[in-house]
């Protein structure tokens, strides 16, 4: 864990992990070393330039006001992503699960990537997990979610409603890559890091997503 944490930080002149480890007393227990590592994560984060580094550091110790600040900073983005990936009906539940996961596992954020990238990854994983469990219950599949109150996808007149209806019918992996690119405006590099795939896979998935989305939109009566 130590090497992951410190080699991944890109702040020059940062605390040297190797030196830090060599200074550890041999009498120290593994538990002490774990505590030291946690402390060093906090130290490293405190050197980050983003204001939220302090917030993340405080979240490491379970500080509730810091957790609330982190929530305030990111809840719109997480909720928006959940609405697009699992639909409005379940977005609140999945947003809640996402933040609980973040609070529980924030020590796993190594600082090697931007916090937003890590948060996107947690959110996407929660959404995919939710979709998989929902797909085992076909009566509540996403494609059946109404586009808007009182309307059906076929009768949707607004293009944006048609787009959401078509997105709901897209395979989860393709929906995810399209939403992250077109709505969250992630670069191919960030997409690759978030989805843990190569840039080539990002490109091929995006091409399939757009092609299939265009076909679905046409089936729903879209006239560009």
């Amino acid at each position: 864990m130590c090497s992951v944490v410190c080699t991944s930080f890109r702040v020059s002149g940062l605390w040297s992990l190797d030196t830090g480890i060599s200074q550890l007393s041999h009498e120290e227990t593994a538990f002490d070393r774990h505590l030291t590592t946690v402390g060093k994560i906090a130290d490293c984060l405190s050197l980050m330039t983003e204001p939220q580094a302090d917030i993340i550091t405080a979240c490491l110790s379970g500080d509730r006001s810091a957790q609330q600040q982190l929530y305030e900073l990111h809840n719109r983005c997480v909720y928006r992503l959940c609405v697009r990936l699992v639909g409005g009906q379940d977005a609140s539940d999945v947003t809640q699960q996402t933040f609980l996961k973040v609070f529980r596992t924030i020590q796993q954020f190594s600082g090697g990537s931007r916090f937003e990238t890590w948060l996107h990854r947690v959110t996407v994983n929660e959404c995919l997990q939710h979709t998989r469990s929902r797909n085992r219950r076909p009566e509540v599949a996403l494609a059946t979610e109404p586009v808007a109150a009182g309307s059906t996808p076929g009768a949707a007149s607004e293009s944006s409603e048609l787009l959401q209806a078509a997105l709901n019918r897209l395979e989860p992996d393709l929906r995810t890559v399209f939403v992250l690119r077109e709505i969250e405006e992630l670069s191919y590099a960030d997409l690759a890091e978030t989805l843990d795939v190569s840039a080539g896979t990002v490109a091929s998935r995006l091409n399939r997503a757009r092609t299939q989305l265009r076909e679905l939109l046409t089936q729903l009566g879209w006239e560009p």
Binding site: A58, S61, G62, R80, T95, R181, T201
Partner: protein
């Protein structure tokens, strides 16, 4: 550049991810091909539509609900005043370690039960999905492949991309026997692992599939009868479906399954090339 080549690159062109040379080649094609140009225009419109989607507003009570859930969650660390150090949480190490040990025992017990239940569910799905795949394969390997890809997320890749993703050199990267050709390579996210699935054409024009996977998967063949055989000195399991066979054997660290072979001789030839014995 033909239409298919241009269509494969349209998305990357739209995102400005192509090299200048490739970009110019696609643009040249678009100037001459109204059909492909229309697809590109639709991609642009779809981007605008996506950006125009209304911004959803998180419910005001979401934080309150989250907090209640967090407080009720026994796995959450005790909430402490922000000026208390992290180290302070662990002053009573013995008590914490005892709690962790007890929790681990409980979690492991639950995990075993859940794993058995989930595995059973996966197995049933796998058997049904592979039964469809095997039934379709003799008539149309491509349709069978499409059925499989409809069930499990897949990506079309080349051998180099596959190597990067799975972090080993797939067996189909080796030279195939004379007359055999590699048609396509996909990475398929199966429940067992990220599986390398290749479609090849035999000299007589028939197709066969080669799957490389981390775990032995007899479940793929359900209750079809299988026969053990010793092929090239390797313990192999052969399963008949229709007039064709599937065969699985253990390679060094993984398992290889070839689907669509005619007989043991063809299997031996393929095995010799896909998984040559170490010298």
């Amino acid at each position: 550049m033909n239409c298919q080549e241009a269509l494969n690159l349209l998305s990357a062109l739209h995102d400005g991810e192509l090299s200048p040379d490739l970009c110019e080649s696609v643009e040249q094609h678009l100037r001459e091909c109204p059909a492909c140009a229309a697809v590109r225009a639709d991609f642009k419109t779809m981007s605008s539509l996506a950006k125009d989607l209304p911004e959803p507003e998180p419910p005001a009570e979401l934080w309150t609900h989250l907090l209640a859930e967090w407080d009720a969650d026994s796995s959450a660390p005790a909430l402490v005043p922000s000026n208390r150090s992290w180290k302070g949480l662990f002053q009573s190490r013995r008590r914490v370690l005892a709690t962790v040990a007890a929790t681990l025992v409980t979690v492991l017990g639950i995990a075993v039960i859940v794993r058995d239940t989930v595995d059973h569910g996966h197995d049933e799905h796998l058997t049904v999905n592979f039964d469809q795949f095997l039934n379709e394969f003799p008539q149309s390997p491509k349709r069978a492949q499409a059925l499989l890809h409809a069930k499990y997320p897949s990506d079309l890749v080349n051998v180099e991309q596959a190597t990067r993703e799975v972090k080993y050199r797939p067996a189909v990267a080796n030279a195939l026997p004379a007359g055999y050709a590699l048609d396509s390579v996909h990475l398929v996210r199966m429940p067992c692992c990220l599986c390398v699935e290749a479609l090849c054409t035999a000299p007589d024009g028939t197709r066969l599939a080669v799957l490389e996977h981390a775990i032995d998967q007899p479940v793929w063949f359900g209750d079809r009868p299988s026969e053990p055989c010793n092929c090239n000195g390797r313990k192999t399991r052969m399963v008949r479906f229709g007039e064709q066979y599937a065969a699985t054997w253990k390679s060094e660290k993984r398992f290889l399954t070839v689907i669509g072979i005619r007989d043991e001789d063809e299997l031996a030839r393929l095995m010799q090339h896909l998984d040559p014995p170490e010298v």
